[in-house]
Amino acid sequence: MAASISGYTFSSVCYHSANSNADHEGFLLGDVRQEETVSISDTQISSAELLQVVEIHHHDPCAQLFSFYDYAGKVSEESLNSILKDRRKNVIGWYRFRRNTQQQMSFREQIIHKQLTQLLGVPDLVFLLFSFISTANSSTHALEYVLFRPNRSRYNQRITLSIPNLGNTSQQEYKVSSVPNTSLNYAKVIKEHGAEFFDKDGVMKDIRTIFQVYSALQDKLQAVCGEVEQSERVKEKIQEEVNKLKQQIALRKRKTAEEERRLREAQNADSHSTPEENTEPCEGSPLSGITFPTPSAPERPSTSPNPPSYTDLMSQDDSLLPSSSPPTSAALLPRPQAVGSPGHPTPGPTVMGLGLGHGLGLGLSASSNPVTTPSTPYLGNGDGSSSDSLDRQAAGQEDDDDEEEDDEDEDSSEYENLVSEGAHLPMVSASVLAQGRPAALSPDGDAHGSQAT
């Protein structure tokens, strides 16, 4: 058996009790209902539990003691009727308040309870006992309450009385009481203003609106899903194309590299004092730097974070170069570098070549370590990586990657590179110039047929 009392009823009883200067008693009105809980478990054995729930809705305080019983504790039915009137059928129990006493039913209470059970015809009449315990110095007062059902066996008499929503409602759910609201005023107001909130079916209008919004969102979401799917497919196609093209580029690069090597060998056979040895002893041949990216290009995947260098692109595609320089010359174009980035030593000779007779310009360009940034129609890579690569090359990041892969003795200091480039420029220029290199990027950033990033 379980019992519950609404918070306001409980507080009302406490209020009446605490304000009385003697013992206080009254009746409890409410409902008793049976709850059946059927629990189903994996063993397929369902068990039904019957629980009797006593709900206390109201209370009816008695004006004075001994109002419906005499000294001997005999209950007078007439007095009972005059107190309860038509509420008699709602009585489910009675209560008593006494200060500074034990939580036990007293002699008279037991006698009265027996008679009330009989007279009211409630077999499980409950008795709620309040007691106020105060400490000797009145510093602490405790209100204790116990709910008894004295008609049961002696050992089963106390029932826990729960007060819903008495506690931390931020943690627990706020429970709605099942106490029926019998207020006429309330019913009237609700009837009047109900149409604003409820539609003809009794469902709150807001609920419908919200549901409509929800449906609309769902539809839109479905549509977007379709679009996403389509764009994904397009992207897939383009990605495939890009991969193919990259493979082609790599292939072409390899071919041009081989051709150049043959050419170089042929040249080396002619001139014995090759300044290239002095220029970049660390690199071997001035062209080797240029060729550096080539072997590495096929290694790189098409969508790798290290997109092919400019020189790779330059060497593989004539259209990249607005100038009429042969593809090989494109390979010799200095790789674009941002100012301040560790410079690739190889652009040294290429810069010379680009000077085309402008020694100063060359020198200038060399000192400032300019780079040509060839225009690349490959800006769009499908995944945008190439443009990033261009940017990064301009920023000099690509150079790092290339150099790291190919050049073991890479010099990380930009200034050193600059110096080395400047020193070696005049030496190389002769051999480079012979090849008719296109104009190099002047220090002030003018590109000769190239684009600066």
Partner: protein
């Protein structure tokens, strides 16, 4: 709030309820054990804490019953002093007396100071009936009860406490408190007047505890009111025979009763015998008597002379004279011991028979003195110094 003196309790209680409580604490004796009076503790109030005192209107009443102390809560309402009180019967939650059996409750009269006391007495009576009913759980003990009830000597002065059944072992215990119908009226007054407390009624109570329903563990105990105990010779008088196994109260109690009666008789007789003895000695020794106990007749001192040798004889008569022999102490009037006392010799065994009457005893004593004195004289001269 325990062991509160009655006056403190009366001071704290609400003035309108004071007369009722007064008669309870001052004159309240209920039950057989009237040496313990009712005690009041745990005075509390039913008014709000802001009410100025004294306004206590509920308390705990301690009632001695059958060797136990019942602690009942009595609840009044200070604001409505004309209303009868309510009771909580402590641990006896099942005790529910019929209100019709409590006339002082039905016709409660707050103006009568005795009303509460009378009500408590009626409740005790009902409680007794309730306990007797509980005896039905054990047929053996019920038999004991019924058999005692039939005997008018014991039936009316009985308190039963049927103990709580031990829910684990199912054991049932009970205690019978019986007032023994022994007549103490003839005990000499001198024996009774020495007690410091107000003796009250002279009563002997026999408490028999049955620790189990089959009466295999029975513990009897005798309680005497202090004056009787003193009159009968202290706590040694309380030795009673053990409860015979397989025996029953209806046989045992009269046994104890008889024992006690015999003891009392002894004491009374002893008194008379002693008086007779002293009288005989007085008549025989006449002027030789120095002094004697004229109230209890327990002592007698004689100054005698034999061949110019004077000596004192102190006669100490025991409580259970003539069963027990009087002690004779001879004392020399000339000689001292090393410790500065008069040289004396004590004689406990000498020709004596309890069957002699006073005269005979006096004669024999005289003869004994004559035979013993030479010996004593020698001893005195030898061991004492002048």
């Amino acid at each position: 709030m325990n062991n509160m003196s009655p006056e403190v309790a009366l001071h704290r209680i609400s003035p309108e309820l004071r007369p009722l409580l007064c008669s309870v604490v001052r004159n309240g004796r209920v039950g057989l054990d009237s040496t313990n009076c009712l005690r009041v503790t745990d005075l509390k109030t039913g008014c709000t804490s802001l009410t100025p005192g004294p306004c206590c209107d509920r308390f705990k009443l301690h009632i001695p019953y059958a060797g136990e102390t019942l602690k009942w809560d009595i609840i009044f309402n200070a604001r409505y002093p004309e209303l009868p009180p309510d009771f909580i019967f402590g641990e006896d939650a099942e005790f529910l007396p019929e209100p019709s059996e409590l006339p002082h409750l039905v016709h409660w009269d707050a103006g009568n100071p005795e009303c509460l006391l009378q009500l408590v007495k009626e409740l005790i009576q009902q409680y007794h009936h309730y306990q007797c009913l509980r005896l039905r759980e054990s047929s053996r003990l019920l038999f004991e009860y019924d058999s005692l009830l039939e005997d008018p000597n014991y039936g009316r002065n009985m308190e039963i406490y049927a103990g709580r059944k031990n829910s684990w072992t199912g054991e049932f215990s009970a205690r019978f408190l019986l007032k023994l119908p022994v007549d103490f009226s003839n005990i000499p007054i001198y024996l009774l007047k020495d007690t410091a407390l107000d003796p009250g009624e002279d009563v002997a109570l026999l408490s028999v505890s049955f620790e189990d329903a089959e009466a295999t563990q029975v513990f009897p105990k005798l309680y005497l009111s202090p004056s009787i105990e003193h009159a009968l010779g202290g706590s040694s008088a309380l030795h009673i025979p053990a409860f015979p196994s397989g025996g029953c109260l209806i046989d045992y109690v009269p046994q104890v009763c008889q024992l006690l009666t015999n003891k009392v008789q002894y004491v009374i007789q002893g008194y008379h015998k002693r008086r007779e003895y002293i009288a005989a000695f007085l008549s025989h020794f006449g002027t030789g008597v120095v002094e004697y106990d004229a109230e209890g007749f327990t002592k007698l001192t004689l100054l005698l002379m034999w061949k110019d040798f004077c000596f004192l004889v102190h006669v100490d008569l025991p409580l259970y004279f003539p069963r027990d022999q009087p002690t004779l102490t001879f004392q020399s009037v000339y000689h001292f011991t090393n410790s500065g006392q008069l040289y004396s010799q004590v004689q406990k065994s000498y020709p004596y028979s309890p069957r002699w009457d006073g005269n005979e005893m006096a004669k024999r004593a005289k003869a004994y003195f004559k035979s013993f004195i030479p010996q004593f004289q020698e001893g005195a001269f030898a061991n004492g110094k002048l």
